[in-house]
């Protein structure tokens, strides 16, 4: 149960502790029978691909001798590969800028909806969450058209201003344009994580705060934000994973801005193009493993820092 805190749901609900059935010998195999179908597929689509990727990353297809064990050579080659680092730097920049903005917006929205000072708060909650149900492909196509200088809103604005001011597909703006799409897709989702954590704060705390004469801001800083710490850690970890795995948005935008978005724009696109354009499966698997390890380490550090504060 120690691992629980890592992914404890917002609101700090702890892992369920069953009241198990007593006759153990009898339920031993029956319990397993319920779990077995899940486990079989889980091994096939979660564990086996990872194992296979590790295997691939240690081999290389060679002209002479065919598939040969090369130890860590693929990793060394990757670490010396400027295209990998360029993509890595880009998603790191994206992470540092986009994630705080998105989470801050989500936090403000959640606090506002929870404040009971809104008219029709249920409406706001649903509408802000709605983009999450829109497929990433459609989200990117919509925004891509809106950004476009053919018939998009960007073109309308430029016409109106009489000069080309808004250029979402320019090299210096493309990352901002992608950040906007990702924010649009996920701000409501993060808002819901925060909102759920706010909903489970016991009423007594607010009553006590009121008796102590605490104002609304004091309630936010003294009660709500501390109660949100777990949810913020969770949302941050998911956003870190999402940033490092960035693929859909740039890959779909590529058809609209092929010269700006390269095949190695993000590490994940690099892995994809190594596999599908270059047939370099070993290199592709190596990128996947390296990004997985980096993501896991950072997520782990965030979680450690988050829970350390909690103990204080």
């Amino acid at each position: 149960m120690t691992a629980t805190s890592a992914t404890a749901p917002p609101g700090g609900a702890t892992a369920p502790e069953a009241r198990p059935i007593r006759s153990r010998a009898r339920s031993e195999w029956k319990g397993l029978a319920f779990v077995a179908p899940f486990l079989v597929v889980f091994v096939l689509v979660f564990i086996a691909p990872v194992a296979y990727s590790i295997y691939l990353s240690l081999f290389r297809e060679q002209l002479i001798g065919g598939n040969a064990f090369v130890g860590f050579e693929n990793y060394l080659a990757l670490f010396a590969d400027p295209q990998f680092w360029e993509g890595f730097g880009r998603v790191s920049l994206f992470l540092v800028v986009q994630v705080p903005i998105m989470l801050a917006l989500a936090l403000v929205a959640a606090l506002a909806i929870d404040s009971a000072r809104l008219h029709a708060s249920g409406f706001f909650r649903i509408v802000i969450f709605l983009p999450y149900a829109v497929p990433a492909v459609v989200a990117v196509l919509m925004w891509g058209f809106i950004y476009g200088d053919n018939f998009g809103l960007a073109a309308n604005i430029n016409d109106w201003l009489g000069s080309v001011v808004v250029t979402p597909f320019a090299r210096e703006w493309i990352l901002v344009s992608i950040g906007n799409i990702v924010t649009w897709e996920f701000v409501g989702y993060n808002m819901l994580i925060f909102y759920s954590a706010l909903r489970v704060i016991p009423t007594d705390l607010y009553e006590a705060a009121e008796l102590d004469g605490a104002g609304p801001m004091r309630v936010v800083t003294g009660i709500k934000l501390p109660a949100l710490r777990g949810a913020i850690v969770i949302a941050t970890i998911f956003s870190i994973i999402g940033s490092f795995q960035l693929f859909n948005e740039p890959n779909i935008l590529r058809t609209l801005a092929p010269n700006i978005i390269t095949t190695y724009f993000t590490p994940n696109m690099y892995a994809y193009n190594l596999s599908f354009a270059g047939q370099q499966y070993n290199a592709s698997a190596t990128v996947a493993i390296v990004m997985g390890v980096i993501t896991a380490v950072i997520a782990y550090v965030v979680q450690l820092r988050g829970s350390r504060k909690e103990e204080r």
Binding site: V50, P135, G144, F238, G292
Partner: protein, 322 residues
């Protein structure tokens, strides 16, 4: 280690992150609801400033969708000649829909059918497996139960399609790529679905009922399918909703698994149309891309809004009963 490694490639957190959203969406109701929280003094006045601030959020959320609806009513040339956020003189929504559905011998309808196939088998199967396993973990004790729990919790942090590239590499060895199974089998696992059912089953299926059924001589699976599954329904609907969204919106996995357009789901097909419209020597079918996009999101948005009411009330009812 296995947990660590699993956080591997793919997708901008997109569909995969469903897990957390499910949890987020579900907990407020799953946990006993806070009753009328603010007493008279704690019930603040409605604030116009707050409402205006949040209205900006709402406009931001809706503008692209409004743009999509408006532009689905325009002709190819109307798209270029009229203002993006208002209608053109010609209103050709129904012609656009007809053209979308019949373009290239109705390939769009074929993609819609594929999507439904993947959703029914993938999301349905994922919900079934998660329900059985979550229930088994909650109500039985057996060797390795803790280990399963730890591994599944770790897996929740992984985007659902995170393993797409490794899975592709493995499936191509097995000769499974370019078949529907390449999409359906990886969709069958929803670690968060399992977690949710587990949490839900602990409280909503009383062990006493199971013991009583056992005394009456009912087998465990019979008890599950006749009694427990009914008590678990709100949790199951929630898991189903989010696995449906995940499979309907799945893009990366089918993109890499399928090379034959006749097996494409809507998402990959639409992107192919978009590439076709903007590539070299392009056939300008922007109106089809836009109308197709609209047709793609309508079912999922309707399901989402409609079902959301259902499972929210279902969940609160469930928690009141306890």
């Amino acid at each position: 280690m296995s947990t660590v490694e699993r956080m591997t490639p793919d997708v901008a957190g997109a569909a995969g992150d469903n897990a957390a959203a499910t949890r987020a969406a579900v907990l407020p109701a799953g946990v006993p609801r806070r009753r009328r929280r603010r007493t008279s003094a704690l019930q603040p006045r409605k604030s116009v400033a707050f409402t205006i601030m949040m209205s900006i959020f709402v406009i931001y959320s809706l503008v692209p969708l409004v743009w999509l609806v408006i532009n689905a009513t325009k002709t190819q040339s109307g798209l270029f000649s009229s203002f993006g956020l208002w209608f053109d003189d010609e209103f050709v929504l129904f012609q656009n829909i007809w053209e979308t559905l019949t373009y290239r011998d109705g390939i769009f309808v074929r993609w819609l059918g594929n999507t439904l196939l993947y959703v029914v088998l993938g999301a349905g199967g994922a919900t079934l497996l998660a329900t059985l396993a979550g229930y088994g973990l909650a109500k039985f004790r057996f060797a390795g139960r803790r280990a399963v729990f730890a591994v599944v919790l770790g897996a929740i942090a992984v985007p659902g399609t995170a393993l797409a590239v490794p899975t592709f590499l493995m499936f191509s060895q097995l000769g499974l790529t370019n078949t529907p199974w390449a999409i359906i089998v990886p969709s069958l696992i929803s670690p968060f679905g399992l977690y949710l059912i587990w949490v839900y089953a602990v409280d909503s299926v009383p062990t006493e009922i199971l013991e009583a059924a056992r005394m009456d001589g009912a087998g465990e699976f019979r008890t599950f399918f006749t009694i427990s599954i009914r008590l678990l329904t709100p949790g199951i609907v929630t898991v189903l909703l989010f696995t449906v969204v995940a499979t309907w919106n799945n893009y990366f996995l089918p993109l890499i698994m399928l090379s034959d357009p006749t097996w494409y789901p809507l998402t990959v097909g639409l992107n192919q149309w978009s590439a076709q419209a903007s590539g070299v020597g392009a056939q300008p079918i922007y109106n089809l891309v836009i109308t197709g996009s609209l047709l793609t999101i309508i079912p999922i948005v309707v399901a989402f809004l409609g079902l959301q009411r259902f499972w929210q009330s279902g969940l609160s009812a469930g928690s009141v009963k306890q």
